[in-house]
Amino acid sequence: MAADLSVRSSLPLQILLYLNQWYYIFWLIVESLSFVFKGQTLPFASGVLAGEIILFIFLFLLDMFRIHFATKGNLTERIIGIIVSIVLTLPCIGGSLYLLLWQHYVLRIELIINAIQLVFIALEVILEIIAIIVFARSNA
Amino acid sequence: MEISKESFSTIVSKATLVQIITITLTYLSPFLIAYFTGGFWIKEKTFTEQAEVKFQYRFIALLEGETNTYISSSYESINQIYSNEYRPSVRTITELDTNEDGINDLLELSIFISGIPIDTITNIKLILLFNSTLSAYSKLKLESLAYLESYNAKKSSELNFDGEIQFVQREKLREKITYNGYSYQLLNESNIDLEALNLDKIMRDYNSREYSTRLITDFVSWKNTLAEGFRINAHIRYAPFTISYVPAFWEQFKWGWIQYICSLIPFIYVFKRIKIFIFENQLVPTISMNITQKLKSS
């Protein structure tokens, strides 16, 4: 069994994950500022704003975990990290869609930011599936 | 031992371009910020001053009833011209300083005009003349006028009113002028001709002045006294004047300088960090050397 020295980690996926991490910081700042703006100027029923802010914080943490697992899985060329990451992608898509469509008040900037986020997630999912296929084939 | 790094390059190079751009942005951006947030220069400021107002002991009172008109004034010539309608008057005048700051701020005036039948007056026009002096910012001496017109449908014989003298400014004060232009007498005491006695013309000329005063009446009431003659009781307060002026050059410059420096400091810091990043990571090609400086004490 000769050692296999070729690198099978997906470079485009890694670049996308790295940029997505930086994009999340930008997303965090913009969303916090828009929540502050909405809290100050728009009328909310009691408890609604708090619920949305909690959802936003959970979404951020979940996304950070998702990127972390995907990075680890990609760099160690193991399937398990990427599978966990794909499993975590589903609530992340749900959260982004909520912030995009079903929020109580959706600002124009939030629309754009979450749409770009969904584009990132979509590209990453495609590349992750390709990476799973590549890793599974080489491990088998 | 201090170690610092210096970067060299030729005069025409990307490094000088970077340097020029950062210096321009550093020193230009505070101007841009000031331009977008309302400008540097403060064009108008206000302050309040208790002016010295003195009653000149001159007045003109025009009383009108249903069919007759009476006039009483402190100008001998007016009284002589209108000798038919003239009725003599007795005045009691007190000027008080209620808040003890050395400047009078209350005038208690009582005018009793005799020779008027009981309960005939329905309309009164009263002109009181004062001298005001402003001295805190510029020196202005004004002759100021308080004009009251009051009408009552019921015929009465006493008028009480409560008022305040207010400063009317149609033009902003400029710095440190001494302006006595309106200190002339509106009606010359000794020599009055009939043309100058047009009330409309007097009031119009007075109201076209740039600096004048106005009487604001808070409370006017008419009474019947069942006695002959007409009495006027007045409480007039001298309120502090609110004066707006254009600041002088050094005052504007002081505030503009503060704004510029406060906007400049963050920009200097930020662009210094950016320049260190650019030159240390060789984003533009330069030759850099480490320079070691020994401390002087060795």
Binding site: L16 | F277, N281, Q282, L283
Partner: protein, 141 residues
């Protein structure tokens, strides 16, 4: 060689600036009417023409920026420090100018200045580097 700058965070900076520019352009595209409407009606009679010009300008900007993002992500100009410097500076100044345009409701004709400086110049340099890499096999750092 300039890779030290990449280690110190030049690549994310450039990405964020391009992204900020893109976000501002898209948000302007969504609500154009205020900017076309705040133009001087005496100078610019034809509002429809202005509207069309604004849409075309914004779309071209977004297209150019998308091309630049693609060449950035796929790595062609990822490590090119000169292009990074120009790109960072010009895209960040475009983002700032566009947000000033939103705040102070500038006329849409002023957008063309921003377009000229901040969208065209990085694109031109990008094309020069692309041609250099493909045709002449040379990379400039």
């Amino acid at each position: 060689m300039g890779l030290k700058s990449v280690q110190n965070g030049l690549v994310p900076t450039r990405f964020m600036c391009m992204l900020a520019h893109m976000v501002m352009l898209i948000s302007l595209l969504i609500r154009r009417n205020e900017y076309v409407g705040s133009c001087d009606t005496v100078l610019y009679q034809n509002v429809n023409l202005l509207n069309n010009q604004f849409i075309i300008g914004l779309s071209i900007s977004i297209g150019i920026l998308a091309i630049e993002l693609v060449t950035f992500i796929t790595g062609i100009t990822l490590f090119n420090t000169f292009q990074s410097l120009i790109s960072t500076f010009l895209h960040s100044s475009a983002a700032i100018s566009l947000s000033i345009m939103v705040f102070f409701k500038w006329c849409s004709v002023d957008f063309w200045y921003i377009f000229g400086f901040c969208s065209c110049i990085p694109f031109i340099f990008e094309i020069i580097f692309l041609i250099g890499i493909w045709l002449f096999k040379r990379t400039i750092n």
